[in-house]
C-alpha cells in the first residue's frame, strides 16, 4: 500500500470517527442560538458563528454523520444494483445484455441532478434515508457499465467454462467464480459511488430541496448562502464545510487510485 492510499484511508477514518462521536464532542448544540452574532473564528467558536449566533464548528461536527450515512447507504445500494445489472448483462450476453446495457446507458445519459431535484421536492418528507435511496437509483449505472465490460472478458475465460463443464449452475458460477475476480472493480465502483452520493446530497441540501431539520455540510452552506454570508464577508461560514467536502472527496479518490493501481499494474509508479 503506497503513501497516497494510506493518506486516503487515514482521512476517511478520521471522518468516520467524527461521524460516530461528533454529536458528543460538539461544544454547543448546533441549532442553539447564541449572543455572538456572525463572529469570526475565536477561542470560544473555532469556526466562528452564524447570523443567529450558532456555533459553526458544532454544526460541522454534528453534520458529518448525515453525510457519511448517505454515502454509505448509497454506496451499498447502488453497488448492489450495479452488480445485479452489470454482471448479469455481461454474463448472459445476447438480448438480455442489449436490454440491460440500454437501461444503464439511459440512466447515465439523463442528467441526474434536475431529475433528483424534482423527485426530492415532490416527496412530502425528504429525510436522509429516503434521499439516499433516490440518489442510489441514479448512481448505479456507471458501475454497471464497468462491471459489464469486465464480466464479458471473464465470461469466456477457461475457468468459467471449466466450472460449467464440471456441472456448476449458472448463478453459482456468477456468484462464486466470476464475482470474486471482480473485487477490485467492485471496490473502486463502491468508492466512486460514495463520492457521487456525498456530492449529490450536499448539493441537494445546498439547493434547499432536502429537509433542513437535520444537519449536514450542505445545510450549513444553504444557510450561509441564504443569509448572504458572502456579501457580509463571513468566509468562515462556508469555508469549513466546503473544505471538509473536498477533503473527504480527495480521500475517497486517493483510495480509488490505490485500488486502480492494484488492479492495473501499468499505472503503478515506474520503479527507478
Amino acid at each position: 500500500m503506497n503513501f497516497k492510499t494510506r493518506l486516503g484511508l487515514g482521512i476517511l477514518g478520521f471522518f468516520t470517527l467524527i461521524a460516530v462521536v461528533g454529536e458528543w464532542i460538539a461544544p454547543y448544540d448546533p441549532s442553539a442560538m447564541g449572543d455572538d452574532l456572525l463572529s469570526p473564528p475565536s477561542g470560544a467558536h473555532w469556526f466562528g458563528t452564524t447570523m443567529t449566533g450558532q456555533d459553526i464548528f458544532s454544526q460541522v461536527l454534528v453534520g458529518t454523520r448525515g453525510v457519511m450515512v448517505v454515502g454509505l447507504v448509497c454506496g451499498v445500494l447502488a453497488t448492489f444494483l450495479s452488480i445485479l445489472v452489470g454482471v448479469t448483462a455481461g454474463f448472459l450476453g445476447g438480448a438480455a445484455d442489449e436490454a440491460l446495457s440500454m437501461l444503464s446507458n439511459v440512466f447515465l445519459v439523463i442528467p441526474a441532478l434536475p431529475l433528483i431535484i424534482i423527485v426530492a421536492s415532490m416527496l412530502p418528507s425528504a429525510d436522509t434515508v429516503l434521499i439516499a435511496a433516490v440518489i442510489s437509483l441514479t448512481a448505479w449505472a456507471w458501475g454497471a457499465r464497468v462491471l459489464r465490460a469486465q464480466t464479458m472478458s471473464l465470461r469466456r475465460r477457461d475457468f468459467v467454462e471449466a466450472a460449467r463443464a464440471s456441472g456448476e449452475r449458472t448463478w453459482r458460477i456468477i456468484v462464486f467464480e466470476v464475482l470474486p475476480n471482480l473485487t477490485a472493480v467492485i471496490a473502486s465502483g463502491f468508492v466512486g459511488t460514495v463520492i457521487f452520493a456525498v456530492m449529490l446530497q450536499i448539493t441537494l441540501s445546498f439547493v434547499g430541496v432536502v429537509s433542513l431539520s437535520t444537519w449536514n455540510w450542505g445545510t450549513i452552506l444553504f444557510w450561509a448562502q441564504s443569509n448572504q454570508a458572502l456579501g457580509q464577508g463571513a468566509w468562515w461560514w462556508f469555508v469549513p464545510a466546503g473544505l471538509c467536502i473536498a477533503l473527504l472527496g480527495t480521500a475517497l479518490a486517493l483510495i480509488n487510485f490505490g485500488i486502480d493501481e492494484y488492479a492495473n499494474p501499468r499505472l503503478r509508479k515506474v520503479r527507478a
Binding site: 445519459v109 448562502q225 473536498a246
Partner: protein, 326 residues
C-alpha cells in the same frame, strides 16, 4: 452510418424514457402540490392554461392512465409545457427559451475548453509519467473533489467581495438592454468570466486524470514501442500514435459524463444568479414551481442528447474503424 443510426435510436429511446418519467413522477409520488397551487391562483388562470396543467400533472382522474399519457404527448408536441407559477402567467416554454441560450453559451464553451485543456494536459502528464507532473495528480484530485457551487462561492468571495474585480451575479450589467453593441457584449463577457472559470477549474481535473491513465496504458502498447524503435520524433509518437488512440475512450467518456457536468454547471449558474436554466431551476425550487422544474429537466435532457450526438460524430471522424464501416 449504422453506428450513427444505432446511436440516434438510443437517444430517441432515452428521450422517450425522460418524458415518460416526467409524466409518471407527479402521478406516482404522494401529495398534490400543483392542485394546491392552482387553487391558490384560482380565477387568474384561463381555462386553456388550466386544462394544460391538468394534463401535465394528471389531475384529471376521470381518464385512464393511458388516455392521460396520450393527452400528455399531445400537449408536449404542441410545445405547451404549462404555465410557470414563479413567472406567472408566463408560459414555461417562454421562460425556457429566454434562458436556454445563456446556458448553452456558458456551459457549451466552458465544457469544450475544459475538455481540450484537460485532454492536452493529460496527454502530457501521461507521456511524462514519473516526472514532476505527477504532483499535478493530487492537486487536480483535490480540485475535482470540490463541489462546483462551493468553488463558485469562493470565487465570488475573493474576486468580487475582497477584491472587487469582476461582477458576482447576473448575465450582464443592470440597466443594459440586450442588443448587438460592444457595450452589451463586453458586459456579457465580463459577467461570464467567473462562472466560466469555475466550471473549467472543477471539471478539467477528471479529463486530465482519465487521459493520463489512458496514455499510460497506450504508451506500453506494441505499436508505440515500434514507433519508438523506428526513431520517430517524441512529439510525433506522442500525438500521432499514443494520444490519437488514447483519446477515443475519453470522447465516449465525455459523452456519458455530460449529464453530470451539466448538473454541476447548473449549480454554478445558481450561485452566480446567471440568467440560464440553472438559475431558473433554482427559482422554481423555492416556489415549488413544478411545471418550470419539469420543463427545465426536459430541455436539459434534450440538449445533452444533442451534445452526445455531436460527440458521436467526433468519434466517428477520429476512429478509422468506425469510418470504414460507415
Amino acid at each position: 452510418m449504422t453506428f450513427l443510426l444505432r446511436r440516434g435510436l438510443f437517444y430517441l429511446i432515452t428521450l422517450w424514457a425522460a418524458i415518460t418519467a416526467n409524466f409518471l413522477l407527479p402521478r406516482l409520488l404522494p401529495g398534490d402540490p400543483v392542485q394546491a397551487m392552482i387553487t391558490k391562483l384560482g380565477g387568474r388562470l384561463n381555462s386553456d392554461a388550466m386544462a394544460s396543467l391538468y394534463i401535465l400533472f394528471g389531475l384529471d382522474e376521470k381518464k385512464s392512465l393511458w388516455e392521460q399519457y396520450v393527452d400528455y404527448w399531445g400537449t408536449l408536441l404542441r410545445g405547451d409545457l404549462g404555465l410557470s407559477f414563479t413567472f406567472f402567467p408566463t408560459p414555461v416554454a417562454d421562460v425556457l427559451s429566454q434562458s436556454l441560450p445563456w446556458t448553452l453559451g456558458l456551459v457549451g464553451v466552458t465544457t469544450v475548453i475544459a475538455f481540450l485543456l484537460g485532454t492536452l494536459l493529460g496527454v502530457y502528464a501521461g507521456w511524462k509519467r514519473g516526472s514532476w507532473l505527477d504532483t499535478l495528480i493530487p492537486v487536480t484530485t483535490f480540485l475535482s473533489s470540490i463541489p462546483y457551487f462551493w468553488l463558485g462561492l469562493i470565487a465570488i468571495s475573493v474576486f468580487s467581495v475582497t477584491f472587487p474585480l469582476l461582477p458576482a451575479s447576473g448575465g450582464y450589467a443592470a440597466g443594459l438592454v440586450p442588443e448587438f453593441s460592444w457595450e452589451f457584449i463586453s458586459s456579457v463577457l465580463e459577467h461570464a468570466v467567473l462562472p466560466g472559470i469555475t466550471i473549467v477549474v472543477s471539471s478539467v481535473a477528471s479529463w486530465i486524470l482519465g487521459m493520463r491513465n489512458m496514455m499510460v496504458t497506450v504508451t506500453a502498447e506494441d505499436y508505440v514501442l515500434v514507433a519508438r524503435a523506428k526513431g520517430l520524433s517524441q512529439k510525433r509518437i506522442m500525438f500521432a500514435y499514443a494520444a490519437r488512440n488514447a483519446v477515443l475512450p475519453s470522447i465516449s467518456g465525455f459523452a456519458l459524463s455530460l449529464g453530470f457536468i451539466v448538473g454541476g454547471a447548473l449549480l454554478v449558474e445558481m450561485v452566480f444568479s446567471y440568467p440560464g436554466l440553472g438559475y431558473v431551476l433554482f427559482q422554481g425550487i423555492g416556489a415549488k414551481d413544478y411545471p418550470l422544474m419539469q420543463g427545465v429537466f426536459l430541455v436539459i435532457t434534450l440538449a445533452v442528447l444533442v451534445a452526445n450526438l455531436l460527440a458521436d460524430v467526433g468519434y466517428l471522424l477520429l476512429d478509422p474503424r468506425t469510418r470504414r464501416e460507415g
